[in-house]
């Protein structure tokens, strides 16, 4: 079985498990929507203020709750499963790519589901929909790779709060790029630099994830 076939099968397995459990669709997405509703209750229901902060709040919720997507129980492989995958000759790098691919698709769904909620609640007036269509998958890829990598690094560690602690500060460049791109589009400023930062982050995380897959899998046994 080729590398890409292995990765595709792993991603398909993860997505099938997600469809059966509905963890992201029936738990994390509603949880994110509740968070978007709670923010105006905390900072006040001043419509112009909410219009201004809406895009930023949307990205913060995507980042913080996106960690839950990367950490979903349906995406966890315990020792015996890893051993079986190893015995079947599954390349750890292919496993990383498959896992990150499935997480990215789920994060994309998460972003697309919460987008209309944020639009309805905060009533922002986003501009440059073409760029936003580029931005949303790039953020999903970055968070998917980072979340998968952090989950691999912290695999089989009892503390469930560790992965969010690892992911949240490291995702600052992604959050900055996303929020600054939206602001740049709204103000008519150039945003190429931010898109480039996002692209560099995605590439760096992909390279780090693939290179570290085998040693990290060996370390978790």
């Amino acid at each position: 079985m080729t590398f890409w076939r292995q990765a595709r099968e792993i991603a398909r397995k993860d997505l099938r498990t997600e469809i059966r459990t509905g963890e992201v669709f029936f738990v994390t997405i509603p949880f994110g929507a509740v968070a978007l509703m709670l923010i105006p209750l905390a900072i006040g229901t001043d419509a112009p203020l909410l219009r201004d902060v809406g895009p930023g709040m949307y990205w913060v919720v995507i980042l913080l709750f996106g960690v839950l997507v990367a950490l979903r129980q349906s995406g966890v492989d315990e020792g015996p499963q890893l051993d079986v995958l190893g015995l079947l000759g599954v390349d750890p790098a292919a496993r990383f790519v498959g896992r990150a691919g499935a997480t990215t698709l789920l994060l994309l769904a998460f972003e697309l589901a919460l987008g209309p909620v944020a639009l309805a609640l905060y009533d922002p007036a986003p501009k440059g929909w073409g760029w936003i269509a580029v931005l949303i998958p790039m953020v999903a890829i970055g968070l998917g790779l980072l979340g998968t990598l952090a989950a691999t690094i912290a695999a089989s560690i009892a503390s469930s709060a560790l992965v969010p602690l690892l992911v949240a500060p490291l995702s600052v460049p992604i959050l900055l790029a996303a929020a600054q791109t939206m602001e740049g589009l709204a103000l008519g400023n150039t945003i190429v630099g931010w898109i480039l930062l996002l692209l560099i982050m995605d590439l760096l995380l992909a390279v780090a994830g693939v290179l570290s897959a085998r040693p990290l899998q060996e370390a978790s046994r």
């Binding site: 009892a158 500060p169 600052v172």
Partner: protein, 236 residues
């Protein structure tokens, strides 16, 4: 030896910092910068050494490099905390607030949390080899933050002043102040080296103790084999 050198250079830096005349606009408050700025530089250096130690561990598989990375990260977290605390004291007197939503401040705090996460990860993994291997990757990834923190004052219009010394062109600082700052930098570098060396030694001893405890608890090879028992005796 290194500890003595650290003590001597620290005293020299303190004397130099006190001998420099008052700054025209900020008065004595400006002396905070003789600790704040070197602490920030040492934090960068410490995390760069963590990157180096992590990379060398992955290459050589020698736990000494892992201890260097970990020791340097611990000292780096201390210096980052010191930088933030002193910056807040200076900010309260100058800007009127302890904290402001400035790019440099927020990103420095984030860098602090990245390496706190690194140390938390290390505490969660008892096996030294697994700990070294996993944290090495995080030590490499965490470095992404350093250039972002450093260049934040250039990329964004911030309240924090742009680089005064590490900048193209001439330094924007009078020679006496520059001399005191350089003296403090030398002292802090020696302190950093002494702290990392001591921390590496402690980590080596901790590993040795852990290994000894594990060796005591480990069953001796063949312990599961018991002497054969003959039902009904041997008939003698």
């Amino acid at each position: 030896m290194l500890e003595s050198a650290a003590a001597v250079t620290l005293v020299a830096a303190l004397v130099t910092a006190l001998l420099v005349g008052e700054e025209q606009t900020q008065g004595d408050l400006a002396r905070v910068l003789f600790v704040h700025v070197p602490a920030a530089w040492l934090a960068y250096l410490a995390f760069a050494i963590t990157l180096l130690g992590s990379g060398l561990y992955l290459w050589k598989k020698d736990l000494r490099w892992d201890r260097l990375a970990a020791g340097s990260a611990e000292v780096g977290v201390f210096f980052t905390g010191l930088t933030i605390a002193l910056g807040m004291i200076w900010g309260k007197s100058t800007w009127g607030v302890w904290w402001t939503w400035d790019a440099r401040l927020v990103l420095t705090a984030m860098m602090f949390f990245v390496y706190l996460g690194y140390l938390a990860l290390r505490r969660s993994i008892p096996d030294p080899v697994a700990r070294a291997r996993r944290s090495a990757w995080l030590g490499i990834l965490g470095t992404i933050q350093i250039p972002i923190v450093h260049f934040s004052v250039i990329w964004w219009r911030t309240l924090h002043q742009p680089p005064t010394i590490l900048r193209p062109g001439e330094m924007q600082m009078d020679p006496p102040f520059r001399g005191a700052l350089m003296m403090a930098l030398v002292a802090f570098t020696v302190v950093y080296a002494a702290m990392v060396r001591r921390r590496m030694e402690l980590a080596r001893l901790e590993d040795a103790i852990e290994e000894a405890i594990n060796a005591e608890e480990r069953e001796v090879a063949g312990a599961a084999v018991t002497a054969p028992r003959y039902e009904g005796g041997l008939g003698v």
